[in-house]
């Protein structure tokens, strides 16, 4: 789950990292009032779950409260990479002497967390990674012992910091890692982390992603979820234990298993069609859950055919068939349905489907081809 900058900043600040305190505005009036309270130059920043806000014009400097109002007028409602801006952060302008990048994330290949830092702060870190990977300093963290002070110091020296700035920097590294662990984050990032003209450390931005699997022990973070930033259907699906991602095509897919679901989308494409969604009904799917999946897919008006691809392992074929039959009683499905059913209890499942007027195949390629054809004919 992604958090907004202002939410991440609040959490960082709770963990002892000095952030650039600002306030949230949802209207130009509010932005103007906040700017007046703060006094002096302010920055108006779009709050959306995507990077590249600066390039898209979502971050503006304002010298007067009136200018802050104008900036908010421009930014609110803006579409940044498909995200509509509904809130702006109004924060004091800062006199920046140097900018850095600092982040904590998981190194999957090493199965360890890693601290990353760069003297190229303020630019997109993916760009640095791609074009100048040698400019990124990495330090793996011992899973049992955490970040050693020497590691934090060493990163600081490698960044070329003056000796009197090292202990302040090392403290931020430690706190950013502590935040990462305490909040079950998969990313904590400050970009840029700045040294002000007065020589003080300040987190000018804050980014945080929380491990969805760990949200059960962080109800406070779950409460920060911004429903405007998430696809309502995807969220609805997750509550039922279904993974759903909406795509642009017209063939609705219902599949068990993430790998098979991706392979099914690929098969649709391979046979000349476009998948309307990714959907994994999950392990041990009940009849109710399959019926729910049906509801999710048919809610998309673009869907012209539905491809159900089930290979029974933990999910038994007869249970899936029962779910399909039940769903057809409950949901009024107007589009053709193509079913592929193999694996555990598949034969019983196919028999049950036949009794309900649905023919099922055993081949995934055949089913994908049939679904593409059915969508074209519809």
């Amino acid at each position: 789950m992604n958090l907004h900058e202002y939410q991440a900043a609040e959490i960082f600040s709770r963990h002892g990292i000095r952030t650039n305190a600002g306030k949230i505005a949802t209207t130009p009036d509010e932005a103007e009032a906040i700017a007046r309270d703060l006094g002096g130059i302010v920055v108006v920043k779009a709050q959306v779950h995507t990077g590249g806000r600066g390039k898209a014009g979502g971050v503006k400097l304002a010298r007067t409260p009136e200018a802050a109002r104008e900036a908010a007028e421009t930014i609110l409602g803006m579409d940044i990479r498909g995200h509509i801006v509904r809130k702006v952060l109004v924060a004091p302008g800062v006199d920046i002497a140097r900018e850095f990048y600092l982040g904590v994330t998981l190194d999957r290949a090493r199965r360890q967390n890693v601290i990353m830092a760069s003297a190229e702060g303020g630019v997109e870190i993916e760009e640095v990674a791609r074009e100048r990977p040698e400019r990124i300093i990495r330090a793996l963290v011992d899973p049992m012992l955490g970040v050693h002070p020497w590691q934090a110091r060493q990163i600081g020296f490698e960044l070329g910091l003056d000796p009197d700035k090292i202990s302040g920097f090392a403290a931020i590294v430690q706190r950013l890692y502590d935040t990462y662990i305490a909040e079950d984050a998969t990313l904590t990032e400050i970009n840029p982390l700045v040294l002000t003209g007065a020589g003080e450390w300040l987190a000018l931005d804050a980014k945080m992603t929380i491990d969805d699997n760990a949200l059960f022990r962080h109800p406070d973070l779950e409460a920060m979820r911004d429903l405007d930033e998430e696809n309502a259907t995807e969220l609805d699906a997750r509550h039922s234990g279904i993974s759903f991602v909406k795509l642009e095509g017209d063939i609705g897919c219902i599949v068990n298993g993430a790998g098979l679901a991706m392979a099914t989308m690929d098969a649709v494409k391979l046979h000349g069609g476009e998948p309307a969604n990714f959907l994994d009904v999950g392990g041990g799917a009940s009849a109710d859950q399959v019926a729910k999946a049906f509801g999710l897919v048919t809610a998309d008006p673009n869907v012209r055919a539905i491809l159900i691809n089930i290979f029974g392992g933990i999910t038994r074929g007869d249970i899936v068939a029962q779910g399909i039959a039940e769903a057809l009683d409950r949901v009024n499905v107007q589009v053709p349905i193509v079913v592929r059913l193999s694996g555990t209890n598949a034969e019983e499942g196919r028999k049950l489907l036949a009794e309900n007027g649905l023919a099922a195949t055993t081949s995934m390629d055949e089913a994908a081809a049939q679904a593409v054809q059915a969508a074209r004919a519809a």
Binding site: R111, G259, D266, I314
Partner: protein
């Protein structure tokens, strides 16, 4: 021969009295797996599919000497089950559980390694040596003994490929599901190394998917260490960038993680990469007859 499990495997089931645990214990016993014991705290004296239930792994070890454990414990208790298994010297632990927080798996993985045990998964279907032992949740009947080693990050997609192989008359030495989580105990490289060393495995099928860089690392390993033919399939060519592979994931893999990059890396390492699961048997036949 085979890898990791065979007819001599003595299997312990952790979480044996739960819904999934008891269902799959019965399935494994029906397949012929030697389930020697189960553990459920407070379950001592019960029995599931003929296997005695103990309160602790220590007791089960003392009385039944298992050498493999399979875990069906819910996500918030599963890391503890992993610790209990390896702290009692179970050499091989298979964790089926889905949804374990990454922050729990990072230290668990480090501890398993420190104890010298091997972990398969989590969030995996387990593994099967056809005709000998099924330590997992896969449908046993689609497998048949033979010369092809299968390793995969996915569950049902593995069944898909195994089923296609069996229908084409090609058996499997062992089929291993390594799991779809960001932190897993056994990687492609580990399994590829075992298949390379197994005299009964003549060819390998490797099934990957988008995200991370394990396939790229496997490609490098294949180029340097694997002499047996490898056929590959990567799922997710049409997948959009996923939400869990955010900003930071991209930096770790240095811009890799897409299906196209993984396929290119494997092809460059001499792997025959196919575009659909149903094309795997044909490619394997070609490789075996060469």
């Amino acid at each position: 021969m085979s890898i990791l499990v065979d007819r001599d495997s003595r299997v312990l089931v952790q979480g044996i009295t739960g819904r999934e645990g008891s269902f799959h214990t019965t399935q494994m016993v029906e397949y012929g797996t030697n389930i020697v014991a189960g553990v459920t705290p407070g379950g001592r004296g019960k029995s599931v599919a003929g296997a005695p239930v103990f309160d602790t792994v220590a007791e089960a070890m003392a009385e039944t000497q298992p050498n493999v454990s399979i875990i069906f414990v819910p996500a918030r208790f599963a890391p503890d089950a992993i610790y209990e298994a390896v702290d009692n010297d179970v050499p091989f632990v298979v964790c089926i559980t889905e949804g374990i927080p990454v922050a729990d798996m990072v230290p668990a993985y480090a501890h398993v390694r420190q104890r010298g045990s091997r972990l398969l998964g989590p969030n995996c279907p387990g593994l099967i040596t056809p005709g000998q032992a099924k330590v997992g949740i896969m449908p046993g009947f689609i497998h048949t003994p033979g010369p092809v080693g299968v390793v995969s990050r996915s569950g049902t997609l593995t069944y898909e490929v195994v089923d296609a192989l069996t229908r084409a008359g090609i058996g499997q030495s062992t089929a291993v599901g390594i799991g779809g989580d960001p932190v897993i105990g056994t990687s492609f490289i580990d399994v590829l190394g075992l298949f390379e060393a197994d005299p009964e495995t003549e060819a390998i099928v490797m099934i990957g998917e988008i995200g991370g860089s394990d396939e790229e690392l496997a490609a490098q390993f294949i180029q340097e260490h694997v002499t047996k033919p490898v056929v590959g399939f990567i799922a997710g060519r049409t997948a959009p960038p996923g939400k869990r592979m955010g900003h930071a994931g991209a930096i770790i893999s240095g811009g890799s993680g897409t299906a196209a990059e993984k396929m290119a890396a494997l092809e460059a390492a001499g792997v025959r990469v196919v575009d659909r699961p149903s094309a795997v048997p044909g490619a394997i036949k070609d490789a075996l007859h060469r």
